[in-house]
Symmetry: C2
Subunit: 395 residues, 2 copies
């Protein structure tokens, strides 16, 4: 009598969460410093001081009724205006408050956008490797995921992409910097994707949307890495943003959806987003943190710590003979497993108390994800275990 | 190409929100104190000092990474344990952390519970008058609402209730203290509802759930008013709670779902709730306010202000000849319109700058809702307008 799909989702946790929970138990058994937990994408650096200052300033108000009161469903108008102006200053765009809809984080942004766009049975294309919950979000809103495999360098396979588009395709999710590969899609790639979408839209006589899932936008580590702002390359682009990673606020659930005026029928798309927010029970985004993020536009935690971690783990594992994709952004290292079966490899890693996640869930078998948003010493201390694991396979 | 239902929901705002937005414009035209805005159920009293103290204590931590980090999807284990123990101390129950799932407020609690329970096309019974968004939440999760009319005293019509139950009935929503009537369902009523459900469950061979929507539980004004705790009267009861009204934190989106062990197949119901939370994009409830509410168990704002408002508006409007239901709880007064068409009555009230909501949206035509969670002086200043309105009809 209970819905089978909900029961399955609730009974079988995500593999990442399972591993994280195992790690907590294992740490209690053998000690915190003996378990190298690279499972979760939970920021390891504190929120920037501007967050603390904003909280302190906001909470000193005499009017807590307004501070903690409902905002409009789409978010506080001044908060939205402030964010729009910040985006314009960075990207040379001309957004205003009415292009923004504040949300309870990236997952909410994605679910609301998908519910707003999808008719029953429509398809959403995702480029492997991708965050496994995309499947949950798309299917939860009545759609289906079509998986496009990656090229050897973990850029999208454009030919396979073009072939995947059909009369049911409603949207494409782009996640760059990418979880789990750390790859940033180049301007050339984005232009090619846009060109294919324009061509296929014309051929099929239907609008196809890009949903840009961008929580890692600010987490890039080299001066020559730029993350193209996709609204400038393709008109039907919605941006789903979250402050979870940039401001280290993942638990506070705060982000937004951006619907540019260039989107076809943009007023109605925005209205569908308002409707979807209601239908999914999102009354408004948390109001205190709406105000906080507006006061922290353009700020980030000290991401140089992630860069240091990236350089360390990439060079150490490469030196040990592991085949790694050098990440340009996010805080994940994607590594070729030392046997074909990445799940089996992860189990053998676990015996060395290395908690790493199989790429199978990310639709990229044969690889594993290492989340390096951890203390530097966790990385340093883990190297002997990675060495022992490699030696075990070399025998 | 866009979903018609989402477009309709996003284009046609709720009547309450429309009126509230009109009020903001009108106030800018004629002055704040000339518009008597009784539209929204937005708490008018500040959060209790314990909320400020909890925030201040929590934010003084050295470990903001943990404070703002993800919690488990079901909520922080210690937070859930603390709330379970509080409930046990008040109700003599024996809940534990595993009976609770923290949410982003009452709307999220309801949508997640409905998604967890409903198979496509199943029905949810609601007792009129009820909060209009119930229809949005139920239909948004694939179900249908069956409306049971009230008796003259705004208690549920039990015979009509029994007749409404059929082989598609999955749940009944009970909201007491009630929005919009302010009525509290008596123990006798709850027992009768439970008895009917037990009988019909046996007859139909299916489990039927009560979803107790309880944001107003603590807002009752007389010593002899008790709000029965429904889990003690009917085993298949889920409680959807929100701290929005009791702690005056409506914008912060924090509440919970309680799944007692007595619920049939309770572990699987809980699993479905976890699954539904994932499918709707709720990663976890906001973590800072999870900690805040755990530190404020049993606290409320100064609800005596609402009692004072209730006594004032009830006695004044009664004296003017308005036929009012005396509210035992919540912060709404439900009043008989002075003509059959409550919408027309609300329009005539609007000409006196009295912003009140038609009962039609609450499935109770001929009545209007007055939200008295306002400054006392708004009530006092509004009385001449209510008098003028009554006199207009007396002509």
């Amino acid at each position: 009598m209970l819905p089978k799909d909900m029961l399955a989702l609730g009974t079988k946790r995500s593999a990442i969460r399972e591993l994280f929970e195992y790690g907590k138990i294992r740490k209690a058994q053998v000690g915190e410093d003996k378990v190298y937990d690279f499972s979760l994408g939970n920021p390891s650096i504190p929120a920037p001081k501007e967050v603390d200052e904003a909280l302190s300033e906001l909470l000193s108000t005499d009017n807590t009724v307004a501070l903690h009161g409902y905002s409009s469903a789409q978010g506080d108008a001044i908060v939205r205006k402030t964010i729009a102006e910040y985006l314009n200053s960075v990207h040379g765009t001309s957004f205003n408050a009415d292009n923004l809809y504040m949300t309870c984080g990236a997952a909410a942004s994605l679910c609301i956008s998908l519910r707003a766009l999808l008719l029953p049975g429509e398809e959403v294309i995702a480029f492997a490797p991708f965050f496994p919950e995309y499947v949950v979000f798309v299917e939860g809103q009545g759609g289906k995921v079509a998986v496009v495999p990656p090229t050897a360098s973990f850029q999208p396979d454009l030919e396979a992409f073009e072939n995947a588009i059909n009369e049911n395709t409603k949207a494409v999710i782009i996640n760059s910097p990418n979880n789990p590969s750390g790859v940033v899609y180049s301007e050339e790639t984005i232009k090619a994707i846009a060109q294919i979408l324009e061509k296929k839209s014309r051929e099929l006589g239907r609008e196809i949307f890009i949903i840009a899932d961008e929580p890692y936008r600010e987490l890039v580590y080299d001066a020559d890495t730029t993350v193209p702002y996709i609204t400038k390359y393709y008109k039907n682009t919605l941006v789903c943003y979250s402050y979870s990673k940039s401001l280290s606020l993942p638990g506070e659930r705060i982000g937004y959806i951006l619907v540019p005026d260039e989107v076809c029928d943009s007023k109605n798309v925005y209205a569908c987003i308002c409707g979807a927010g209601r239908a999914l029970g999102y009354v408004c985004a948390p109001t205190l943190f709406q105000q906080v993020v507006a006061k922290c536009c353009g700020k980030t935690g000290d991401v140089s710590a992630y860069k240091k971690n990236r350089d360390l783990i990439y060079s150490e594992l490469s030196a040990l003979g592991y085949e790694c994709v050098k990440p340009d952004g996010a805080f994940y290292l994607f590594v070729k497993a030392l046997e074909d079966d990445a799940n089996a490899f992860c189990e053998r890693a676990k015996a060395h108390d290395l908690l790493i996640v199989s790429g199978d869930g990310f639709f990229c078998p044969g690889y594993v994800r290492i989340s390096y948003c951890v203390d530097e010493k966790t990385i340093k201390n883990s190297i002997p275990a990675f060495r022992a694991l490699a030696e075990e396979y070399a025998k």
